[in-house]
Amino acid sequence: MPDLRLLEAEPSAAERIAIDAVLGPGNGANGRVARDDRTKRHLLLPALRAAQLRVGWVSEGALGYASRRLAVPPAEAYGVASFYALLALDERPADITHYCTDLSCMLKGATVPPGGHASPCLGLCERAPASYRTIAGEQPVEEQIPAAGPPLPQAGDSGLRLLRRIAAGVDPESIDAYIQAGGFESLRRAQELGPDAVLEQVVESRLLGRGGAAFPTGVKWEAVAKQAAQPHYLVCNADESEPGTFKDRVLMEQDPFALVESMAIAALATGSSKGFVYVRAEYPLAHRRVQNAIDLAASRGFLQGFEIELRIGAGAYVCGEETALFQSIEGYRGEPRNKPPFPVEVGLFGKPTAVNNVETLFNVLDVVSDGGEAFAGIGTESSTGTRLFCVSGCVGRPGLYELPFGATLRSLLDLAGSAPPKAVLLGGAAGAFVGPDLLDLPLTYEDTRAAGVTLGSGVVIVYDKDADLVGALLRIAEFFRDESCGQCVPCRVGTVRQEEALKRLAAGRAQAGELQTLAELAQVMRDASICGLGQTAANAVASAIANLGVFAA
């Protein structure tokens, strides 16, 4: 047993109650750890979050109590708490507002009033400028501001697949409404087919992951299904923090039962008995609706043999990286693991794990109901099905769009009432800028790859002729500097040097060889960083220099 000198500070009564509500009542014997608490380190983040929601910050007493209860060394608990941007380790007012200063909100004149906190993208880009407010207390309040966005732009379109229930206005809080709209038919069909046949359909559909890496879902599921180690886990990645992305939020807020149903199908196919949905902290409405959907689906017996737990982040883009996400759930700092081994073999709690994006999972409903072959008939040969696009920036009708793969960028921008663009950012901060010369680019994995860009998480941010591109590049550089986990040198220091160089260029004070330095940084971050964050941290900057001629002498 490690020799721990536990923090001695006591929690306040309110903090103790809040933490006990997550961990269960303590055994009262101070400093002693109940036997079954020793395996609950994974509840560290939920406990810290609960304390902060109650009193507004994570006090020494709350941190000490949580670390004592869970037998987590205090230095490690501090390491975890100080990792997350939304956890405050200094006392502050109970009422805090985070103002988005990220790409889409910048284009809509975002500012941070005195006393406000600046924030990276809040996933509300279609209603920019946006903010997120938390009021700690016995009945804590979490608010997205503005509370509602514009209605679905394609509401009347009969071609919608992923968005069809949302377009039809099916009540997202009523399981009966969901069932009436055909809900749980796919799960029933999957149960009839059995795991092997479901896997076969998903493979045949050639469905590729929508979280950014475009990995074939069927291949991933088969790999998990065949692992001997038990249990298998299913993780839904709903961390959605790529600047400009808001699709998964809309799906979870407006159609949460579909997520639960698709997870039940994925669990059946991969042999998982336990699933987690990891949702970023800034999505309170999604938390409520997904939890409601899980509870109702379970109580109606739709989840037999399968349990889904909602986990909530605390402000860390990197926790969307699948292995950082595991670390975060397990109660560690969200530092990505080195791969291999891959999650299908060694994932959550060291067990075989299928991790999928929300939108990926939604597609599975149609794959099962219509068959993989029919699904593969939509879109193109290598990009099957439809794709959600998060359109924001200089457009008349920002919002979430669904188009079959193969539609051109121009047709999407026309739908969204775009001004003639000077540039379009595809794929978010980790993506790439394209100029007006690429408006006829078909939006598919293969065409974007050939053009040296990416669809990423479906971000499309439009910059019109007056937009400040250099400002956007500086914001992207700041984003990566802030969000680097700090583990590996190329990213921890490289993102700082990238920002410094861009600031000099923007101010007209470039050093000799500045562009060469940026190019070398880009190559080394891509080549030598541990995870996708560092590997893509220079993409947008490099693309703006190459495709748009920004900083051309």
Partner: protein, 288 residues
């Protein structure tokens, strides 16, 4: 039954190619092991022979054919048929830039290995200009046994591994903060005497940069009397308890300045406790 098979199964060998040379290593070996078997030494900073690899410094990266990115040789397991290049343009660029990033942000003046690599890779840490952000901060002197100068910290995680899971199981220190603000810290950054630290000094023994340094060495350096060239090393056995750890007493001018323990010892792997590591202060006081 499983155990019997485990014991009986002879370890498989894997064959790979490093810089055109074929090498066979035991399954489970790393690319670094394979390189070393060929006498092809790779630069390493966060790797420790007695520690679980954390592969964070990235100075040991090599090019692996078929891999989109470079891979860390210190942790990547050798596989049958791998083709590895340790000295390609890509590898040299990454190593050079990683060293420039470290050299421009951290005081490497007492980090001999890093300084040697900077020379070897022709790295120029000054290229990022005079305003490049650094981790410079005041040195922490909060106890009589060792000092912590995190201006010299490359965040290699070795001290954390040594204090925690890999050796000491004390978990007095961890990484806190994020990104460029990430740093080694006790809980809430309290001073060492308030923390769980038991002064085993095992973190000092693994620190590659001199960020962690015995007070004796620190004081001599400040006084300008530090003299590694005139140092002699005496091997002995720790007198304090029945374990009988091997000690190496580093002596300068008749004074013990540091105590280390050989890494090749099966049980102690270079680790000691406060008595072995710092008990000499007691010896010296007594004999004085």
């Amino acid at each position: 039954m499983t155990q019997a098979t485990l014991l009986a199964a002879p370890k498989r060998m894997v064959e790979l190619t490093v810089d055109g040379q074929t090498v066979r290593v035991l399954d489970g070996s790393t690319i670094l092991d394979a390189c070393r078997q060929l006498g092809n030494e790779q630069p390493t900073l966060c790797y420790g022979d007695t520690l679980t690899p954390v592969n964070v410094c990235r100075v040991c990266v090599v090019e692996l054919e078929g891999s989109r990115t470079l891979v860390p040789s210190c942790s990547r397991k050798a596989e049958e048929g791998m083709v590895v290049h340790t000295d390609s343009e890509r590898v040299r660029l990454s190593r050079r830039l990683v060293l420039e990033l470290l050299g421009s942000s951290v005081d490497l003046s007492t980090a001999p290995a890093a300084l040697e690599y900077i020379e070897q890779y022709d790295a120029d840490p000054s290229r990022f200009g005079p305003d490049a952000a650094t981790v410079a901060q005041p040195v922490k002197i909060d106890n009589d046994l060792y000092v912590r100068d995190y201006s010299k910290c490359i965040l290699c995680y070795k001290c954390v591994s040594a204090c925690g899971e890999d050796h000491q199981n004390t978990f007095a220190i961890a990484v806190a903060g994020r990104g460029f603000d990430a740093h080694i810290s006790t809980e809430l950054d309290v001073e060492l005497p308030e923390s769980a630290c038991v002064y085993c000094g095992n973190c000092i023994a693994v620190c590659p940069t001199g960020a962690l340094m015995s007070k004796a060495e620190y004081d001599k350096r400040v006084a300008g009397t530090w003299d590694p060239a005139g140092e002699t090393v005496v091997s002995t056995v720790c007198p304090y308890c029945g374990v009988g750890c091997n000690l190496e007493l580093h002596v300068q001018e008749n004074e013990i300045v540091t105590v280390t323990s050989p890494h090749d010892h099966d049980v102690t792997e270079g680790n000691l406790c406060i008595k072995g590591r710092f008990g000499y202060r007691f010896v010296q006081n007594r004999s004085a």
